[in-house]
């Protein structure tokens, strides 16, 4: 190569505007020529159609012509395959990345085998993302039937929002699969129309151009709602494969929240049918006691544990609600006998409340834990588990009919109210309950156990103050 040519090359930057975002052939042709002219990657700005490409806005748009004796450009098959996918990505940097790799391939033809190279990894990643988007489009396009003018003329129309420039790359799939059907796929990036013979490309479309519904969708939704096994909810697995961004164009996705919420109920029906009649609540404390031992309404009941029933006078004026039995409670079958229970006893005594006069129970009846070696570590129940288990606590409330309920900790408060409240905001004042009684909220004694020093003293003081207020209020109510 002559010296003057090389100088010109160094002085120049080039600006290549692509006619289409996914035009691989165009890119390949330009890239080949640029490599042959030895234009290094940092001298080229690849510009997406419609964008200004201000990276080197002075770049030359006329590209150099490769000398006749320029060596051929080498690219492995693997590279071409990956590049064809990667070019459909919406990442603006993709053209430059491809060029850089092509450039490097000339001196290292086996570069692509080096999975630890950052450029190679990036190429892999782009290609993978695009393949995934292509796949998701094949999966999640939903056609809707439009009856044509002429009787019997059927046209299927879908609205889809791909993330990358994959519409054209995917056309073949749909024409092969739905060869004898008239269909259109509309997207914000362009549209495809197939009349049974010819495929035409159309301009970008708007969601409102597509039909809003289809008579078969009710059936499809029914199918979707019926085919899954509610005993094995795995929302994470679902979301991984069907991210929310696709939901809005899938008629069945609207059902998901409802299905998830209803799954526990459906499962408990499945589990409880035959062993427990959920239709009627047991009317005595003894019957509840028996029923919770058989309860499998939530996963906690499937652990290796015993249920723990509340205890105390059937006509107590005060009902104290904790979170759930712990290890010792589970073993002994009685509420509040472990360290937190002992601490509670001391504070109650200090406030002048006789524990034996109160009905003491838990929001959740089974001990939730994880096994670590020989030890069973306490785990907090989820909101849903608390809400399910409320069934039993409501039974106890209906029988005992306390004048005042003291809920200790957020779980207990949730059990009583069905919603989560902040202890620090809710404590110190009564909340009216539907049956005319009132709810007081305070911290859970196990919370105190986890603190030490001044923080613990402070919380103990607040706890005592709450108990004192409860005591006072109980006397008023009794009066």
């Amino acid at each position: 190569m002559s010296a003057p040519f090389r100088d010109m090359r160094l002085a120049h930057t080039f600006n290549v505007t692509l006619p289409e975002s996914d035009d691989f052939d165009f890119w390949r042709e330009r890239a080949r020529a640029l490599v042959q002219c030895e234009v290094p990657p940092d001298r080229i700005a690849w510009v997406e159609p419609g964008s200004s490409g201000d990276l080197f806005s002075h770049g030359d748009r006329r590209l150099p012509v490769p000398p006749a004796d320029a060596p051929p450009v080498r690219a492995s098959k693997a590279f071409v395959q990956l590049a064809k996918s990667a070019i459909c990505h919406s990442e603006p940097e993709r053209f430059a990345l491809l060029y850089r790799l092509l450039w490097r391939l000339q001196t290292n033809p086996r570069l692509l085998e080096d999975g630890a190279d950052p450029d190679v990894r990036r190429l892999d990643e782009l290609a993978r993302t695009v393949r995934r988007d292509i796949h998701k489009m094949r999966a999640f396009v939903r056609f809707r039937l439009v009856e044509g003018e002429a009787h019997g003329e059927e046209h299927y129309v879908a609205w889809f929002e791909p993330e990358h420039h994959i519409l054209r790359a995917n056309a073949g799939f749909f024409t092969r699969r739905f060869a004898n059907m008239k269909w259109s796929i509309l997207t914000p990036r362009g549209s495809l129309h197939w009349d049974g013979q010819v495929l035409e490309e159309g301009p970008p479309a708007d969601r409102s151009d597509a039909p809003a519904g289809d008579a078969a969708e009710d059936l499809w939704r029914k199918y979707y709602a019926s085919i899954f096994n509610p005993a094995r909810l795995k929302i994470g697995a679902m979301l991984k494969e069907m991210p929310r961004k696709y939901w809005k164009n899938m008629p069945e996705a609207a059902l998901i929240p409802e299905l998830v919420a209803g799954a526990q109920a459906r499962e408990s029906q499945m589990v409880a049918a035959g062993t427990l009649d959920m239709g009627e609540r047991p009317e005595t404390l003894a019957a509840i006691d028996k029923a919770i031992h058989a309860c499998r309404m939530c996963p906690i009941g499937l652990l290796d544990n015993n249920a723990v029933m509340g205890e105390g006078p059937r006509d107590a004026a005060l009902m104290i609600v904790g979170e759930q039995p712990g290890d010792q409670e589970d073993e002994s079958g009685r509420p509040f006998v472990g360290p937190a229970g002992q601490l509670l006893d001391r504070h109650l005594e200090r406030a002048g409340i006789d524990r034996r006069s109160a009905y003491v129970t838990n929001a959740v009846k089974h001990f939730k834990f994880v096994q670590r070696g020989k030890r069973r570590l306490h785990q907090s129940p989820t909101a849903k588990e608390i809400d399910i288990c409320r069934w039993w606590m409501e039974g106890e409330l209906a029988i005992v009919q306390p004048k005042l309920v003291l809920a200790m900790g957020a779980s207990a408060a949730r059990g009583m109210l069905g919603k989560t409240v902040s202890i620090s905001k809710a404590r110190g004042a009564p909340m009216p309950l539907e049956d005319g009684s009132e709810l007081w909220v305070t911290a859970h004694p196990s919370y105190l156990l986890r603190l030490d020093g001044p923080a613990r003293e402070e919380q103990a003081r607040l706890f005592d103050a709450d108990l004192a207020a409860v005591k006072e209020r109980l006397e008023e109510l009794a009066g």
């Binding site: 299927y156 199918y223 795995k234």
Partner: protein, 409 residues
Amino acid sequence: MIEKLGILADAAKYDASCASSGTTKRNSSGGKGIGSTEGMGICHAYAPDGRCISLLKILLTNHCVFDCHYCINRKSSNVRRARFTPQEVVDLTLSFYRRNYIEGLFLSSGIVKSSNHTMEQLVEVARMLREEHDFRGYIHLKTIPEADPELVHQAGLYADRVSINVELPTDAGLVRLAPDKSARQIEGAMGKVKSDIVEAKDAKKRFQHAPRFAPAGQSTQMIVGADAASDADIVGKASRLYDSFGLRRVYYSAFSPIPDASAVLPLKRPPLIREHRLYQSDWLMRFYGYKPAEVMQATEADGNLPLDIDPKLAWALKFRERFPVDVNRAPKEALLRVPGLGVRAVQRILASRRHRTMRLDDVAKLTVSIAKVRPFIVAADWRPVLLTDRADLRALLAPRQEQLELFAA
């Protein structure tokens, strides 16, 4: 119609299989109907249980003259019953397919009138789809082992895949829980399907127009946790099935609590994680070169795979003397045994190490989690001298218990 669909889809939800891949490539260009298969099946939606929906999976009817204890459709169960006509199933399949909801149909049925009558109806659905509507999508028929072999043969001529459930891992379990079924009959039917498949493949080699027979092969399903079979029993059974009948897949279905469950069944359901571990052990045999006996070595004293760690790690912890493995020198088979290295990662390591001497960092770039891999490998700058002897290695590597799928809600 919509009510029936609800009942008969609900009744099909205990079927683990929904795969629609591995059949011959075809499309509807040049035909009259619709449909294509391109090797890989497509999951058109995911249900809240995380499973993919790729086929319209329904029962022709959930009436049944049999009384298998684990089955929701058994004679003595009082579920609501419904019944489709073959025409209704055909219409539903086509209508869903045209809207791109599904890849095809997976049809099974309770046994009505007789096994033969039921099987005839299943075959009729497939025949109508293929012959009258030129449907080229995927069809999976669950065949009835008690039916006339000629009918089962016809099923294979229309379907991409046929399956025959072995139901339970042990013959004793079958006798106890499925009194109307016979292991001999089930395996006999599987054997017949296998020889039909082999024969059809052979004929295809010689005559181009030989009819195809179940090109996606046959599969089966086993219920896990309804009887006392251990994981070792199950793995043993599965590997015998793979060997004797050339199955494409053995599916496991953790026994689900079913309404109106028979009193013979366990009250608690087995953890779903057990089913997951069994699938993992299946992968070890299919893709990682483990022998069934080696998977069984990974089980604990009670014959079950540990639930807190995966079977590959369990095996490695038992055979620590095989580690560490040198990522720069070890053969592929040895790398495939390293916990935390998948098939893809191994391939990438083999390719990359031709270009560089792999350091721990390089390996980290090619794997999901280097923490899991580290104790078992040697790299240019890394040698885990003590780790493989550490008694608490298992505790270090076991995932945190909070991850248990049971609670993944």
